[in-house]
């Protein structure tokens, strides 16, 4: 009994971990199911059918492709814009700086339903047709805020003296940025970019308002399919996404732990 008491914290931690990971385990397990009927709710029989034929469900790979495309473009654009905004806010004092700081938070604070519907109104007014372009514009818009927050936190910890030292050693402003500022801000920029990608890839509500029948993203596909019965392929893609995220996080951990080991 005392052994249990001693390791209570470990048990609690394990329980929380299980709580967090059970959904992913279920997704992974059911990706190997051969469901009886159209609903993939009961484990019927082990099968690798969905894994060997991930595009087997109609329209699934088109929607996945669109989501990846939108995610990559939106996160890249948002990362570039957000990084510039973060540097401006973190480095310079200018009129309207605090107002900008506040406004940057607005998209994060606004309910997505409101944002989605107002964007639709805006696009209709401006004559922007619903579909891929409208979705991209919307995604870049709400991703920028998150990138700004991630990069600004990093910029705040950068010692401006390092840039002075670079200039002092003969680096022109461009070289200073490329060789000193950018490498040091990179972890924040990478974090912002990844966050933007996952937000864009994941978004359903705002996307749904601005999509056209020919621009069905992956979340929209899954939502649409859930009424008719989610195909097993969705579970396969879910599992792959989870594994990919795991790999990215592990690589990140590895890099930072190697860095830290050098430091100690």
């Amino acid at each position: 009994m005392t052994w249990v008491k001693k390791h209570l914290i470990a048990f609690a931690a394990l329980a929380v971990l299980v709580y967090m990971l059970v959904p992913n385990v279920i997704v992974a397990a059911f990706s190997f199911n051969d469901p009886k009927g159209k609903y993939n709710y009961n484990f019927n029989e082990f099968s690798t059918e969905a894994w060997t034929n991930p595009c087997g469900a109609q329209g699934i790979c088109e929607s996945l492709g669109l989501s990846l495309q939108v995610g990559v473009i939106a996160s890249l654009a948002a990362t570039v814009l957000g990084t510039m905004i973060a540097f401006a806010l973190g480095r310079y004092r200018f009129r309207g700086r605090s107002a900008t700081n506040l406004l940057i938070f607005m998209p994060m604070a606004t309910p997505e339903v409101v944002m989605g519907s107002s964007l639709l109104t805006l696009f209709l007014m401006l004559g922007v047709p619903s579909g891929r372009t409208a979705i991209l514009i919307a995604h870049i818009m709400f991703c920028v805020s998150f990138v700004v927050v991630a990069v600004k936190a990093r910029v705040a910890t950068l010692d401006p003296k390092l840039e002075e030292a670079a200039a002092d050693l003969g680096a022109n402003p461009r070289q200073t940025f490329l060789r000193v500022t950018l490498p040091l801000a990179a972890p924040g920029i990478a974090a912002g970019g990844l966050l933007a990608f996952s937000l864009s890839f994941d978004d359903y509500i705002i996307t749904n308002f601005n999509a056209s029948p020919s621009s069905i993203t992956f979340p929209m596909y899954v939502w649409g399919a859930s009424a008719r019965g989610v195909p097993v392929q969705v579970y396969v893609i879910g599992t792959v996404m989870f594994l990919l995220a795991l790999v990215v996080v592990m690589v990140g951990q590895l890099i930072s732990s190697r860095r830290n080991r050098q430091v100690v």
Binding site: A165, L169, P183, V263
Partner: protein, 373 residues
């Protein structure tokens, strides 16, 4: 350009820096000879770092010019100047190895021998074995030497040191002072060292400019500044001084003048007396005062009010009849020690005294001395 100027001398001509609410540096004229070890000494906020940053190109002057030799560099940007800085915080690039830090400047100019030169300079500062480490893996003293190497390797016309030893502990600081002096003599570059530590400035520099409130109070070699301060600020900021109010008696010889201190006539060298002033502060350094009678005319009697023994020396506070306490430092050389409450004579040689215009505040600079003991 002034006549007779050496090729690489740094000269500041009426250099000024004003901020919105105050003037950090009043028009400053200064020539620093090539190859010298020069110190800008003063309390924090005196304008010494601002001056340094203007020379580096990191701060834009409000007025005045900066020349190196015949070249006017006032309008050039920091990265265009052949001037390098050792920052107080070192400002080493954390994402680069020690080697890459040191090569940074050379690479910016496309030096083909960057690696060899950097290796050489790392040997000079005795860091050859840590070239592949990251700066954060090194101790403070080692980081300091990397910062020095990173600046030195570019062979700048002027090397600027901004309180470079401030973050080190006392023992390491002493060691680095010797090291810096050795390196400066070895490479023969002009070093400008900004510090608030008077001992550090005196140990290392060939000449010192004492700055106060954006102006140079006095410029000279360390011994002259110490022995013949020209203001109460310098007298107090560089070491301790006993300052006694005195009136100059008329007459005197070419060499000696007498001054009157509370009914006693005391002698002081004429060359240590400001011209045309009757009311003066007579100053004597504590270690120049002797307990007991020395036979000369400069003698005051008082009561010992405090004795503190520090091993190499004993410091006394001797109260004068008019209430002022004089500080006397007696070397532990075997001479008789006084005890608390004893009435003693305090004496000194005429040429050890100096006189300053009495219109100045006697305490100027004293409260600014930071104790680095």
């Amino acid at each position: 350009m002034m006549a007779g100027q050496e090729k690489g001398d740094l000269s500041l001509v009426a250099l000024t820096k004003s901020f919105a609410t105050f003037t950090a540096v009043h028009p400053l004229d200064l020539t620093i000879p090539q190859g010298s070890f020069f110190a800008l000494l003063g309390p924090s906020g005196c304008g010494k770092t601002t001056t340094l940053r203007m020379i580096a190109g990191l701060e834009e002057p409000s007025g005045g010019r900066i020349h190196i030799g015949d070249t006017d560099i006032t309008e050039t940007r920091a990265y265009q100047r052949n001037v390098n800085t050792v920052f107080q915080s070192y400002a080493l690039f954390p994402h680069m190895s020690v080697m890459d830090n040191v090569m940074f400047g050379l690479r910016r100019r496309g030096d083909k021998n960057a690696k060899a030169k950097a290796g050489e300079i790392l040997e000079l500062v005795q860091l050859g074995q840590v070239a592949d480490k990251k700066p954060t893996q090194l101790s403070g003293g080692m980081q300091q030497r990397v910062a020095l190497a990173r600046a030195l390797v570019n062979r700048p016309d002027v090397l600027l040191l901004d309180e470079p030893l401030g973050a080190l502990d006392l023992k390491l600081r002493r060691q680095m002072q010797m090291e810096l002096k050795r390196i400066q003599q070895e490479v023969g570059l002009t070093f400008i060292h900004v510090t608030h530590d008077q001992e550090e400035a005196m140990t290392m520099a060939d000449s010192i400019a004492v700055m106060n409130a954006g102006r140079i109070e006095q410029l000279g070699d360390p011994a002259t500044l110490y022995e013949q301060p020209r203001s109460t600020f310098v007298a107090n900021f560089l070491g301790q001084s006993n300052l006694v109010r005195a009136q100059v008696n008329p007459g005197g010889t070419d060499r000696i003048v007498t001054v009157r201190v509370h009914d006693t006539d005391l002698e002081v060298s004429r060359e240590h007396l400001p011209y045309g002033v009757d009311d003066v502060w007579l100053g004597v350094r504590p270690e120049k005062l002797r307990l007991g009678e020395a036979g000369g005319p400069n003698q005051l009697r008082g009561i010992v009010r405090d004795v503190s023994f520090s091993g190499v020396a004993t410091q006394y506070a001797v109260e004068m009849p008019w209430g002022q306490e004089l500080i006397v430092v007696q070397q532990n050389d075997g001479s008789a020690r006084a005890v608390l409450g004893e009435t003693v004579s305090v004496s000194w040689a005429a040429h050890h005294g100096f006189a300053l215009d009495a219109s100045q505040d006697a305490a100027a600079g004293a409260e600014l001395v930071e104790d680095h003991g």
